[in-house]
């Protein structure tokens, strides 16, 4: 049992790991030989050292701060996005009004409207969460909405003949049918949450990995900047994998549609 698991893992990620190791080695070599100056792209070992040197600060102060924004932003995005998606599914008018706004909301550069956020939320955690939500809720709305649209009409009719009301049909048919699409939206969204939190911290903050990287960039410490980015990227990947795992558990054995 265990050996097959390890085997599966190696066959799934082995090649990727080899490529990563190769790339990191090349990177280290390139920087060591001065082909790219270390103050523009620091070497992996320098990044690692900086990560270790600043570990207390990074892991005990800035990572938790960013994580908090990401989690709160994600929860609100999921709640609001799902509600909007469901609302648009149930009401044609709501859909017609909201859909264009959704597209517009994605085309507006966030940095340009950051003063508005600051005016409304100040430098509290809420301005960062607002930015997080704005970047992260679009995939959720779209995937919820598309998921609910996805067929199931015949099942709907079947339940109607059993005397089911709209709500029962929604619960018994449409939610299970929308689940796969919804979960894949969730996966994208959680990645965008990390990006959103980082942008939010750039727009004004006093803690968080985005703030840290901006600050270190101000004192020209490229290795620390990249250490923070490394953590941000890792955070995104871990959250992505978490949702992927959840997805596998929820859809296991069940979706043979």
């Amino acid at each position: 049992m265990k050996t097959t698991r390890i085997k599966k893992w190696t066959s799934d990620y082995g090649l990727f790991l080899i490529v990563v190791i190769l790339l990191v080695s090349i990177w280290q070599w390139v920087v060591n030989h001065g082909i790219i100056p270390a103050f523009i792209l620091p070497s992996p070992s320098a990044i690692w050292n900086s990560l270790m040197d600043n570990s207390e600060l990074l892991f005990e102060e800035h990572l938790p701060a960013t994580l908090k924004e990401v989690v709160i932003g994600f929860v609100i995005s999921v709640t609001a996005g799902t509600l909007l998606g469901v609302g648009m599914h149930f009401s044609r008018s709501l859909e017609k009004v909201l859909y264009p706004f959704l597209v517009i909301s994605q085309t507006i550069p966030l940095i340009a409207i950051s003063p508005i956020f600051i005016m409304w939320f100040g430098y509290s955690i809420w301005s960062k969460i607002a930015v997080t939500i704005l970047t992260a809720f679009f995939p959720i709305v779209v995937s919820t909405y598309d998921g609910l649209k996805s067929g199931g009409n015949e099942y709907r009719e079947l339940l109607l003949t059993m005397g089911a009301n709209r709500w029962t049909i929604f619960k018994k048919i449409q939610i299970p049918l929308a689940l796969p699409s919804f979960l894949s939206g969730l996966k994208m969204s959680v990645v965008y949450c990390v990006v959103g939190a980082t942008i939010g911290e750039w727009l004004g903050a006093s803690e968080g990995l985005g703030y840290f990287s901006r600050r270190m960039s101000g004192s020209l410490q490229a290795d620390a900047v990249f250490a923070a980015i490394f953590l941000l990227s890792l955070l995104g990947i871990v959250l992505f994998l978490l949702i992927s795992f959840l997805e596998k558990q929820l859809l296991k054995n069940k979706y043979h549609i």
């Binding site: 099942y155 009719e157 339940l159 109607l160 018994k172 043979h256």
Partner: protein
């Protein structure tokens, strides 16, 4: 039990499916509807269940006086089995009970008994994709029974089965019929099946609907089909379908 008077229905613009057709089903009867593909059999069922509203005419269920809200008043088995792929056999069968908000726990032992009688006891925790075609069909049928309605509309329940499985289902249904105490309206393409199971047969054609009585005593056995009488009846029915254009 069911009475349809001068029913007309048109899809969208101009695609008339029925014009003033009438039929009736009495309590305890087994009535079949046959007709070529696209003649509107499934559409008729959707009208009866209330999924569609007639343009003209009335549909009376249980002697109800109005053509009004019919949804939820009959047991309907659609042409495809439509088992929910994410639910086990048991949960699929429990669906109508959940919908009607009856006490699930109280019904559970009854449902288990039925599963046993349908030969599905060993599969109650299987998912639909793990079942053979015949088993899926039986689950869908059982689900229809579990609606608890007296009038069952069955749309080609045995259409997807192989001949042997179908034959077994026929024997099984004929054996069960006395116990069931249901009224059935049944769509099929198979003339043999229609004659074997029904008390009366309606032939649906472009120019109207035609009634045809089956004069076979009950209880019946599936061996009947080789009897001369039966073969003669089948020939007659076939002739009716193909030649009557008046």
């Amino acid at each position: 039990m069911l009475q349809i008077n001068e029913l007309s229905y048109t899809f969208g613009v101009g695609k008339s499916i029925f014009e003033k057709i009438s039929l009736d089903v009495k309590t305890g009867e087994f009535v079949s509807i046959i007709g070529s593909s696209g003649s509107g059999k499934s559409t008729l069922f959707k009208l009866v269940t209330g999924l569609l509203e007639p343009d003209q005419g009335e549909i009376l269920i249980n002697g109800g006086k109005v053509t009004g809200k019919r949804l939820g008043s009959v047991g309907y088995m659609p042409q495809k089995d439509l088992l929910l792929p994410w639910r086990t056999v048991l949960d699929n069968v429990l669906l109508p009970i959940e919908v009607s908000k009856e006490n699930k726990k109280a019904k559970l032992s009854e449902v288990r008994e039925w599963l046993d009688r349908f030969g599905l006891a060993a599969y109650e925790h299987s998912f639909p994709n793990e079942l053979s075609g015949g088993m899926r069909q039986r689950v869908a049928f059982l689900r229809t029974l579990m609606t608890g309605k007296d009038l069952l509309l069955l749309d080609e329940p045995f259409g997807a089965l192989d001949s042997m499985t179908k034959r077994n289902m026929h024997s099984w249904l004929l054996g069960l019929w006395g116990e069931l105490q249901k009224t059935v309206l049944f769509i099929t393409h198979d003339l043999e099946e229609a004659i074997l199971l029904s008390d009366r047969i309606y032939v649906l054609k472009a120019d109207g609907i035609k009634e045809w009585k089956v004069n076979l005593p009950r209880p019946r056995s599936s061996e009947l089909i080789y009897q001369e009488d039966f073969i003669r009846m089948r020939k007659e029915l076939e002739w009716l379908i193909q030649h009557e254009n008046n």
